[in-house]
């Protein structure tokens, strides 16, 4: 995972702006670029700051309030800064039945996060529980940043985390 730009730096630098405009040709409205634009902002800053909301609103001819309403609907967008490595653990029924809660406990323990949603003191990890990740035969699936990892068990947690300095 790369270091993020500070939230005051613009999201739509030349390169991202070009990507956004290339996507714009796919849709009949600029509003349809909202989810992609929010992803770009999160990629740039690690979360979606008020400054980014303003910028996206301007780019897409929307109001900041509208952008906020949409952004808070989708749980994968962060409205606050999170750890360098963001860990999402599936704990919905099928995983829950097969031991996901033990994986959560192991992750909280090994990352030093302590609580779900809290960032570890070194800023390295944030762990949250999420609803179904859609890999129910591979208990427990987790997402670390964009890496989808299957069949995590409490025993494999330590080695796994070592790959995310």
């Amino acid at each position: 995972m790369t270091e993020h730009a500070t939230p005051t730096e613009p999201v739509f630098t030349t390169e991202r702006k070009a990507r956004l405009e290339a996507l714009a040709t796919r849709y009949p409205t600029r509003q349809a670029l909202l989810l992609p634009a929010l992803w770009m902002a999160q990629q740039a800053h690690g979360w979606i700051s008020p400054e980014a909301i303003e910028e996206i609103a301007t780019e897409l001819e929307l109001t900041p309030a509208y952008v906020r309403g949409v952004l808070t609907f989708y749980t994968m967008y962060h409205t606050h800064p999170v750890g360098r490595h963001f860990i999402q653990v599936c704990t919905t029924s099928p995983c829950n039945m097969c031991g996901a809660e033990d994986v959560v406990a192991a992750l909280l323990d090994h990352t030093g996060c302590g609580d779900l949603g809290a960032t570890s003191p070194d800023g390295r990890f944030t762990v949250i529980e999420v609803e179904c990740l859609g890999a129910c035969a591979f208990v427990t699936p987790i997402l670390i940043n964009d890496d989808f990892i299957e069949s995590v068990t409490p025993d494999t947690v330590a080695d796994l985390l070592a790959r995310y300095p």
């Binding site: 008020p50 909301i53 303003e54 929307l62 109001t63 900041p64 309030a65 509208y66 906020r68 309403g69 949409v70 808070t72 609907f73 749980t75």
Partner: protein
């Protein structure tokens, strides 16, 4: 049955409505109210509150009456056991997180949640053992406070800002039972028409700061009136508590203002409660202006009109009724008259999503009434003509210092005023008149629509409508003359109004004279 209509039965009432009518409106035609929250006739319907679910025979599920088109031969049940249970269920869901703080809520007494729960809800709750959702009160800016704990997420406010004001500053944030209405922290609800969200809110979630804790709804007297703020002529309700006007709210008129008024109009009521009102008539005597009774006041007015032969200037305030303008001009018939209305100018602020609805640049309610009656002269020219006249009749029009100095050079001034203009040494008569919230009368708006307003409070002292003063002075000149007894008679007697009575206007008015939207000179 015709091609343009459908006939159906709603709770046993047969009704025929235009094709495309939604069941909720068709039910109104049948005299059946379908309880609802998110539906509003001036907003798009999201069908989210689920209160208006009704049973339609042969349909597998209950349907929301707000988005279901009435169909030929449908048999609709609004008060069937299933529909009632559905509403009971919704009401219970709406109340589980509601603070039930009616005793301190401004909406109490005019709250649709309270009303429908009282009407068909359950007496108790099955949600007694859980903490309720809590979110702090938020200042949305300008006049609006948001109390999220009372919110039922009907989204009327969001839809108003999105689709009517067309300034999307409100939104639903989050999901599930965490959802609230939110405003972008960097923005305020300062749109000229934003105050309507308070009226649209069916519960006490969006409240007016200006009205906060001022009065209980059941203590208010409500009087149908017309906004005096500009030439749009929005229909309003004047709410008074013990003779004091405490708020103005829109009164629906689909032809004029639908369900809305602007914030300028909404806020402009404090003058109605002025304490420095002129309560006693006075005429100039040896000792200056001396208090007197109406009889001698009217005689002096009649004499002033009869004595002179020179020009007369009539200076009208923007809230002078059609009746009063008409009778003042009739009193002066035979004299050379220059009459004008003072029309302050401001920015025109349209309500984007509604055709022909704006806070108009011309901030005078009865400009078109004045023009119709021949009082459409240039205000500045009219003021400038004062020094060359025998007589100026000043009808509740505030004057600037410069204008005062000019009017002071007229032969004599008759002030028909709510508040005396003390600076005029040449005032011969000072007659206390009622303001528009103390009298019946008619304004004519920019589309030539004559609309009535009714008295909302008792006039102070001996104040009388200006038309009454003018008409009775007029009657003194000739024994054959009889002054009209009521405002309606006063209106009907004016040739330009051609016998029109107040009753004929109803409460939504009538277009009597399409007036070309003339500019103001």
């Amino acid at each position: 049955m015709s091609d343009a209509t459908v006939s159906l039965s709603i709770d046993g009432m047969d009704v025929t409505v235009p094709k495309g009518t939604m069941l909720i409106e068709a039910a109104k035609q049948a005299g059946v109210v379908v309880p609802h929250y998110c539906y509003h006739p001036s907003l798009p319907s999201p069908a989210v509150c689920r209160m208006c679910l009704v049973e339609v025979e042969k349909l597998p599920k209950m349907v929301p009456a707000c988005v279901t088109t009435a169909g030929e031969g449908q048999v609709v049940h609004v008060h069937s056991p299933a529909a009632k249970k559905a509403r009971e269920g919704v009401l219970e869901f709406l109340l589980i997180n509601h603070p039930l703080d009616c005793p301190i809520c401004d909406q109490a007494g005019e709250c649709e949640l309270q009303d429908f729960v009282f009407q068909e809800g359950q007496a108790g709750t099955r949600y007694a053992d859980y903490p309720k959702r809590f979110n702090p009160v938020e200042d949305f800016g300008h006049d609006v406070l948001y109390i999220p704990n009372r919110c039922i997420l009907c989204t009327r406010c969001v839809r108003f800002m999105d689709h009517v004001a067309e300034e999307s500053v409100l939104t639903v944030s989050e999901r599930g039972d965490r959802a609230t209405i939110s405003i972008d922290p960097a923005h305020r609800l300062d749109h000229q028409w934003a105050g309507n969200v308070v009226d649209l809110c069916p519960v006490g979630s969006l409240v007016s700061k200006d009205f906060l804790h001022k009065a209980r709804a059941w203590d208010l007297d409500k009087t149908a009136s017309v906004c005096p703020g500009c030439t749009q002529g929005c229909n309003i309700m004047v709410d008074t508590r013990d003779e004091v006007v405490v708020r103005l709210r829109p009164r629906p008129n689909l032809e004029v203002n639908r369900h809305f008024i602007c914030d300028t109009g909404r806020a402009d009521y404090r003058w109605m409660n002025r304490g420095d009102r002129l309560e006693e008539a006075a005429v100039r005597g040896e000792q200056g202006l001396e208090g007197t009774a109406w009889e001698s006041t009217l005689e002096r007015v009649a004499a002033l009109v009869a004595e002179g032969e020179g020009a007369v200037t009539v200076l009208l305030g923007g809230r002078v009724s059609t009746e009063s303008i008409g009778w003042i001009l009739r009193l002066l018939s035979g004299r050379r008259v220059t009459a004008a209305m003072r029309v302050p100018l401001g920015d025109e602020v349209p309500l984007a999503g509604m055709a022909n609805l704006a806070l108009r640049a011309e901030r005078a309610a009865n400009l078109h009434g004045a023009q119709l009656l021949g009082a459409g002269a240039d205000w500045h020219a009219a003021v400038a003509s004062a020094p060359d006249t025998d007589l100026v009749i000043l009808v509740d029009a505030p004057l600037s210092d410069t204008e005062l100095a000019v009017v002071a050079r007229a032969g004599a001034v008759v002030q028909l005023s709510t508040v005396a203009e003390p600076g005029l040494e040449n005032t011969a008569v000072l007659a206390p008149i009622t303001s528009m919230v103390e009298e019946q009368g008619v304004f004519i708006n920019r589309d030539g629509r004559a609309q009535r307003f009714l008295p909302a409070r008792t006039p102070p002292g001996m104040a009388r409508p200006a038309w009454w003063v003018a008409a009775n002075a007029w009657a003194l000149a000739d024994e054959a003359r009889t002054a009209p007894a009521t405002a309606s008679e006063a209106l009907a007697a004016l040739p330009a109004l051609d016998g029109l009575t107040h009753a004929q206007l109803g409460f939504t008015g009538r277009v009597i004279a399409p007036v070309a939207a003339g500019g103001v000179r």
